[in-house]
Subunit: 338 residues, 4 copies
Amino acid sequence: MPNAVVSLVGASGYSGAELLTILSRHPSVTIGKLFAHASAGKRVQDVLPRFLGILDALLEPYSPEAACQSDMVFIALPSGEAMNLVPELLSRGKRVIDLGGDFRLDGAGVYERYYKRTHTAEHLLGTAIYGLPEWNRANIRHSTFVANPGCYPTSVLLPLLPLLKEHLIESTGIVINSLSGVSGAGRSASPELSFAEVCESVKAYKVGTHQHIPEIARALREFSSSAVSFTFVPHLLPIIRGIYTTISAPLASGATSEKIHGVFQQYYASEPFVRFIPVPEIKHVVHTNYIDIGFSIDNDSGRVILLSAIDNLVKGAAGQAVQNMNLMLGFNESEALL
Amino acid sequence: MPNAVVSLVGASGYSGAELLTILSRHPSVTIGKLFAHASAGKRVQDVLPRFLGILDALLEPYSPEAACQSDMVFIALPSGEAMNLVPELLSRGKRVIDLGGDFRLDGAGVYERYYKRTHTAEHLLGTAIYGLPEWNRANIRHSTFVANPGCYPTSVLLPLLPLLKEHLIESTGIVINSLSGVSGAGRSASPELSFAEVCESVKAYKVGTHQHIPEIARALREFSSSAVSFTFVPHLLPIIRGIYTTISAPLASGATSEKIHGVFQQYYASEPFVRFIPVPEIKHVVHTNYIDIGFSIDNDSGRVILLSAIDNLVKGAAGQAVQNMNLMLGFNESEALL
Amino acid sequence: MPNAVVSLVGASGYSGAELLTILSRHPSVTIGKLFAHASAGKRVQDVLPRFLGILDALLEPYSPEAACQSDMVFIALPSGEAMNLVPELLSRGKRVIDLGGDFRLDGAGVYERYYKRTHTAEHLLGTAIYGLPEWNRANIRHSTFVANPGCYPTSVLLPLLPLLKEHLIESTGIVINSLSGVSGAGRSASPELSFAEVCESVKAYKVGTHQHIPEIARALREFSSSAVSFTFVPHLLPIIRGIYTTISAPLASGATSEKIHGVFQQYYASEPFVRFIPVPEIKHVVHTNYIDIGFSIDNDSGRVILLSAIDNLVKGAAGQAVQNMNLMLGFNESEALL
Amino acid sequence: MPNAVVSLVGASGYSGAELLTILSRHPSVTIGKLFAHASAGKRVQDVLPRFLGILDALLEPYSPEAACQSDMVFIALPSGEAMNLVPELLSRGKRVIDLGGDFRLDGAGVYERYYKRTHTAEHLLGTAIYGLPEWNRANIRHSTFVANPGCYPTSVLLPLLPLLKEHLIESTGIVINSLSGVSGAGRSASPELSFAEVCESVKAYKVGTHQHIPEIARALREFSSSAVSFTFVPHLLPIIRGIYTTISAPLASGATSEKIHGVFQQYYASEPFVRFIPVPEIKHVVHTNYIDIGFSIDNDSGRVILLSAIDNLVKGAAGQAVQNMNLMLGFNESEALL
């Protein structure tokens, strides 16, 4: 396939800058427009000096006309903003990958409950293809509109889905704890995310109310064909990048370590970005598109402990988005990602 | 009560130094001997310069005769060492508080399974009083030998016990995730604990095999009078101090947020070192003897999420040990701890 | 002396909260009013949960009437705000300690050049006593208005002044590099101080333009009676608390290591908060009012390297302020500080 | 030029693993043997799980025969070990790049003074070409034996040399302060480098005695043709990677900001890995082979402040080593480094 021209909306945020890093080494991609809000009018290398000598490009205020000069548009904006841009882009026939949460759910009610705002493009809810390549590759290939998964859901779904689908674990009593680095909250001026508040501390947050809960629930239901009951508690950690997820799930009758191992092999042996290791660590996956997965059986409680680690900005955002783009545009799925 | 002379074995480790910090401001305590191994022969302020101008004392090699000149001996050694010292100290009538794990379990078999060594003072197993003041205060007061609780168990037992005892949660399906700072591993030369390996990463460790699992199980069983099934996964975090514990437990029939609140008040309202806050954070408790506890109900899954935060070196070690000493010696329980 | 009632303006900032921590354990102080701006109307323990169970007090909007009910007022506000409050407080006969920079310089011109604003209480410039107890104790004792030194100047002046005064170093060619933790910038919502921007990085800032340059210059000149030429470069580090200062100064003819040692002893041997150690480290002084000082001679270049470490919020702000209060009110100078 | 086979001695250390990362993406390099000591016999991806799915190679104990099957040998060992391997490798005609300090000095006396050991290959001292491409490119191209510069010297020499050579600064009174991340000390089990000791602290170390002092002195002398007097103070910071260097140097008569800018352009405008930015920050260069340089004039003191930032493992070690290899083997100098 010939080169594609891709544009980025939200190019100076953490996910946007990571997209830019990955796309700038993609051999089949030409970077089109870089849209930004607060930094519009500046050059990207002045706003993000790590691009000095690597990129020289202008950050522009968003315009649909300029965006539509590209073959594909990545939207890396805080949730609540993409829904104002996507309808026009789609109606003009552009391919869109939205890295935010506006199109990952399928109902306006659940969106409003968890995102605390009204959805302004309700007619498009449920139309985006969920961009989890390991479980939705065929649909992604033929899609023009992909909702890129959230960082927490990526780290939860990949270890959990094979075991649920193959009935090696029960669908109730599942407990998910996730630990996230600070960049997951985006580039922010919140005093709660200042170094002096975050360093040398840890806290849970949005217990029972995090917007990734319905996203996880929907994807578990759709990909495993079963209704699942779980608790999910996210925590904020003093690291920049990375998500670490620990899941405790009741083993189904007859489930063994060997069967779990076998199912993981069956589903993921040929996946380019899924690795297995007894105990994942964030440092092994940081700056990569890999998810590392480990598990162990706790015989005393009859449960399996699943562990996973990803880089929230790569496999949890920009890397997975490029993986989706590669599928949509017919490139090698791993291009620019290894 | 008149002054007591107390000695420390393992005075230059992290728990030992924290003990020294607390005891040096205790109005009714005279510090007797400070025993150390690798640092024996040096002065404490040369090994730990933060004591410059505050303390001037010699670190000596351990001798039972010297230890027995004191009214009370704190042992802050890596597990496996106290069992060689305790029999003689007790037989000479000394009061002992062991901050390590050698006397927290009640059977040689379970000790050997989890601590990977043979117990050399098997006849004393089960004789130590478990030093969790909020649940064992009367026994501690009359005890001469206290096994100070582990850091993880302290953070787990205090939120969990009231709800178990009052049957507000089920005794199976309990999932415990704990996050610990690095000082929990003691002063160590392990390359795995070097800054470059720990910073900007997270990992689970000893999944299903951590030596605090049988300690938690025993204490839950004894203080709540029920057999409990749980999974426990400890994680290593890039912070120096602190433990954060997140527990997901199935609500018993009829349990409500109000009842949980009421039970916590009933058990802890007059406790000097238990505080309630919707979402604990490590930074609020660091360098204090407090445990902060929060909870929330997850109606979708019918579970309660319990959160707790402590400083592993204070409430999880040296602070709780001094709290126990205060009880054993008839001092004000909070002396030197507020 | 009987108890004093002290009030704090800016009680919820980093310096204000540290003041509150120290003052709440001061036996001769009653805390009067706590003034805050954004947090006014809330209780201090709700804004700063580490005070839960320790303090229960209301944060109020500032009013001069309320402030004047106390014997002494600490002002812990960003620079530029104290100058609007101090004239009235002084005219009503209140003792004032200003922890900000508004009254540390003696001219409106230099203030405007470095602080980038016009001074609104120009007539008071030069009237405040510079609160560096080791060099200005007698004046502080009789003062009603103290300008508490900046954090960087404290770390620079204490090692440098004795050698300058005794002519053991030259007064030109002095190079000062300082490294500061993030809390030095105050509680802030600046994206530049977010964890993701600060962690795993270091930068110099305000090279040649930092507002502490004229403060250092003035104090060196006044206390050493000589005009001094120096460069000062501050750096931002990924730590919460602490300042580390490294000074390279040309040795005067005849200066030796022994003479330097002797001069330090002569000036500081009886100082309660100055310690000597070959190589200071921030971790030894954090949460204390100590300054640790070390030095070594570099024979090849004919220079002395001076090293110092302080906790910027204690000896560099709140601790030194209480030390000044103790002097002004006739208390033991170390009260609540050891 | 055809592919080259390169082997690594010390492949599992921090510099070795970084070399492996860079070389594994080099299109003209085939990785030959990976030699390790403690990890010999294991596979590299088991020792360093970040290579899972990327590399599959055995770590072997060193043997000269195996090493000599390659065209080039990188030695990434602690100083003191390369001198035992290099003589045989050179005598067998192998190209060698030593990343350690054994061959950066030109005299056995100065080596022994700073490295505290006797040099065992004294006849080779002074024969290695100093691998600073920006100043020694022609010699490196024709060399078979390169001493790769130290991390601190790289960060010091590149900003300082053009100004010295062009007489824009004086050659005495130069003050160099450097701040280093922990990985500069290599993979280590030292308790002093444990997370709990390093985090939230800073210290100077080896003041006046660091082994990079004579390396800096020699290179300044040889490349600028002038004898230089300076003080150098290294500091240990709580970051994993990165060096930040701040230099204060007296301006020569007639030196201006414009002249300094001009000289930097003259020397470095076409350099692929030297960038200019008013205030460098470590985060901009981490994981890259760039050095970022900034400067400002301090008119009050008549000095220039030079600032530089590098990644100690890339431009300060493995990246610069590959840059040297590219020159020696006739590849594009930037291959695998951008």
